[in-house]
């Protein structure tokens, strides 16, 4: 698949903003959707819309089949051992909240410890803080090095007999560095501590094999990999999910209900209470097909490598710019940076008027901003439909914007 073929699948890329061609560089917040996803979505609403898992009528059977096929597709995509280990949620945030609640209910006692890193998204901090408050447990924080890498050597000092779980991102949504999650999992397992990997960004850039990674939980959102919004996945090892109580009670998640007591449905239904997002979840199938097609395209791979190289070189060679997340070896095309004497909001506003969609601010990672000593940053993040020409245009516009502001 060529990049022009890919671009043709995304009508939104032809949008004009303020009379300029849209250059969408906010993919880490949400990717765009290809026509295959939109068509499938439409088809589900127009022809296969019925509540799933219940009624015996034809539409319900079709809708259920589409939904469950998505589970098989996701299982295959991340190589989970069984389909029972794939729980659908509304997104990575919901997936992490589910674990923080249910794992917490089952395993966390007063004085126990949970470890997160300072570079986490709020979604991988706040659910654990809430858990620790609820259970009188302690939240410990793994630091980063000056270059943005996780200080994994400090994990050994941080982890203790009381540590019950470690929650870490696969790729930081600010630093754009691939964390050594395999190494972290191996180390934590040697101390009998399970690991949750926040894969919201990881799933976008890396081929994930949860069995090879051996993580205990892996959470991600559908909308960042081109599927419909409101879709999300929690992968959990069966042995953990089996021991965890349900997160929400309601329809679907039960086996039998009586006032004397209720028994729960087997996995994964136990964690899917209430009406599921059955119009959206099956769009994970065309979305994953698209991701796979991009990953097997040499042209995409080469263009992404050129973009990474070009932007990295331009930003690191500009002495007005400070790039956060420096190590070149594990960098993905996601760049957060500050410009000396210039506010990130001003840059984002001006770039917007030049047609470029960027992200500015704290990127839902306030503790990391504090750690870096900044009030916010400007972030650009690339997807397979982005081109080197767009990267060049961005750098040109960045220079213009800085010129206007200084």
């Amino acid at each position: 698949m060529s990049i022009s073929e890919i671009r043709a699948k995304f009508p939104i890329l032809d949008t004009k903003v303020y009379g300029k061609s849209l250059v969408y560089l906010d993919n880490a917040a949400s990717a765009q959707r290809p026509v295959s996803v939109v068509r499938r979505w439409e088809q589900l609403v127009n022809s296969e819309n019925a509540n799933i898992h219940r009624a015996v009528h034809k539409l319900a059977a079709d809708a259920t089949e589409a939904y469950e096929q998505a589970r098989d597709c996701v299982r295959d995509f991340i190589n989970a051992a069984s389909r029972e280990e794939i729980v659908f949620t509304s997104g990575a945030t919901a997936s992490i909240n589910l674990v923080a609640f249910s794992f917490g209910e089952a395993f966390i006692k007063p004085g126990d410890e949970v470890i997160v890193s300072v570079a986490e998204h709020h979604s991988n901090i706040v659910p654990w803080q809430m858990l620790c408050q609820r259970k009188n447990a302690v939240l410990k924080v793994l630091d980063i090095r000056e270059n943005g890498e996780l200080a994994i050597d400090e994990l050994e000092k941080l982890i203790s007999q009381r540590t019950k779980i470690v929650a870490i991102s696969h790729i930081s949504n600010v630093l754009g560095l691939v964390n050594p999650v395999q190494e972290i999992v191996r180390f934590c397992h040697s101390k009998n501590v399970p690991v949750l990997v926040d894969g919201a960004q990881g799933i976008v850039h890396e081929t994930v094999d949860v069995q090879a990674l051996d993580c205990d939980f892996y959470a991600f959102s559908g909308h960042k990999i081109y599927a419909a919004t409101g879709t999300g996945v929690l992968y959990g090892k069966k042995r953990w999910l089996d021991q965890m109580p349900p997160y929400m009670g309601g329809g679907e998640m039960i086996h039998s209900v009586s006032f004397a007591g209720t028994t729960y449905a087997p996995l994964p239904g136990k964690f899917e209470a209430g009406t599921q997002n059955f119009n959206a979840v099956p769009t994970l199938i065309p979305a994953i097909e698209f991701v796979k097609a991009c990953r097997s395209s040499q042209e995409v791979e080469e263009e992404q490598a050129k973009i990474l190289d070009y932007v990295y070189t331009k930003l690191t060679n500009d002495n007005r710019v400070t790039l956060y997340g420096v190590p070149r070896g594990n960098k993905v095309p996601l760049f957060s940076f500050a410009v000396k004497g210039v506010h990130h909001e001003d840059l984002a506003l001006i770039l917007d008027k030049m047609g470029i969609a960027t992200r500015s601010g704290q990127m839902c990672a306030e503790p990391l901003m504090d750690r870096l000593g900044v009030t916010g940053l400007l972030r650009i993040s690339f997807a397979p439909y982005n081109t080197l020409d767009e990267a060049r245009y961005f750098i040109e516009c960045l220079h213009k914007a800085i010129g206007m502001l200084l």
């Binding site: 506010h343 009030t375 206007m404 502001l405």
Partner: protein, 135 residues
């Protein structure tokens, strides 16, 4: 100049710019020439925290009129602040409280005021209104 005349003047000033970037250039100039905000007043009491830019606002009442001083760490926001101050500073609380602040949208800066941006500017306008309403 009356409040209405002043607003009209700003709307006309902005009407000469067709290009967005020219509007921003103008705002940046306004921001740079804003009267300095006393450093000792950059305290949490005066801080209006937005998601992205921070805004500091100080109000003083003299002879029945409100006088505002403000600052921001973002220059475009500072430019808009400068506009707001030029319009509202030196007016009576009644005049300000009765105003709808709609002129900011009229000069095409509505998106800078969108609550979804959650920037300090929205909160600044709310604060100016509140100060005026409390007299």
């Amino acid at each position: 100049m009356t409040l209405e005349d002043k607003k009209q003047e700003i709307i006309e000033d902005f009407a000469i710019y067709d290009e967005w970037l020219d509007k921003y250039e103008y705002l940046i100039e306004l921001g740079k020439s804003l009267e300095p905000f006393p450093e000792e007043k950059k305290t949490d009491d005066h801080l209006i925290k937005g998601c992205q830019s921070r805004v500091w606002l100080d109000a003083e009442k003299k002879d029945g009129r409100l006088w505002f001083k403000a600052d921001s760490d973002a220059i475009i926001t500072k430019g808009i602040i400068s506009l707001l101050i030029s319009v509202y500073s030196g007016r009576t609380p009644e005049e300000i409280a009765a105003d709808d602040f709609g002129f900011v949208a009229e000069i095409g800066l509505k998106e800078n005021l969108s609550p979804t941006r959650a920037n300090g500017l929205v909160s600044m306008i709310d604060t100016i209104k509140k100060i005026a309403e409390n007299g």
